[in-house]
Symmetry: C2
Subunit: 133 residues, 2 copies
């Protein structure tokens, strides 16, 4: 699961921001995919037990889906932070969403550690620290 995890993560992000159920259109737009592709994927994610999908309503994460999504979210936060403060990329969020499903949690954890280290170092970039979770 790598492409699918992007949808799951975005569902989670949307749910945080706008609550559930999550409208497929929002997901589609955020991922720059066709509405059709999104519907299809949400149905797939439902089959896999990550969310409940009500046609013309939207997606609601299941417990399993939320667990999975939170894990992805953790990766996403760490990566985005890393991309922003260390690599200074232009669109850290987008790149982080794309990559969150591709990196092992081991990588994420270690990156998080290096971020904490550089946070306590003298030449701090001034960005906000991680907080959360």
């Amino acid at each position: 699961m790598t492409d699918a995890s992007q949808y799951l993560l975005v569902c989670y992000l949307e749910a945080r921001a706008d609550g559930e159920p999550v409208a497929p259109g929002d997901v589609a737009e955020r991922l720059d995919r066709s509405p059709a592709a999104t519907t299809e994927m949400l149905q797939r994610l439902e089959q896999r037990g990550y969310l409940a999908y009500e046609p013309y309503e939207g997606a609601t994460l299941t417990a399993a889906g939320r667990r999975e999504a939170e894990s992805l979210y953790d990766s996403y936060v760490v990566l985005a932070e890393f991309f922003r403060t260390v690599l200074e990329l232009e669109d850290p969020d987008r790149e982080a969403i794309e990559l969150a499903g591709h990196v092992s949690s081991l990588v994420t954890d270690r990156v998080a550690e290096t971020l904490l280290e550089s946070d306590t170092e003298p030449d701090d970039h001034g960005g906000p620290s991680l907080e959360r979770s």
Copy 2:
């Protein structure tokens, strides 16, 4: 091209190590794929102009293929180095091969920079520097 790039990169690595043509079996084993999948992919890569494939012989990179592969290789080297010296992963090579096709060269470049920086810092981990290219 993300899965395909793994094959291309491995072809390049094999070509460096054992010369050309590259036997599909070696590629298959290295990527933990079936021989059939590998044959198929090498044929695909041939269609895309990245290599010449001679049945029962093996693959020989074209100029375009080598160019592409070198770019992947650069990412691979940087990522592997990063995974080894900074994140201290168990199998930095494998993870680097998998990720090389997924990260933008922008990311790679910035990571390379941070590696250079940490190289010149007092608490050097002692790993070898990048050299190459």
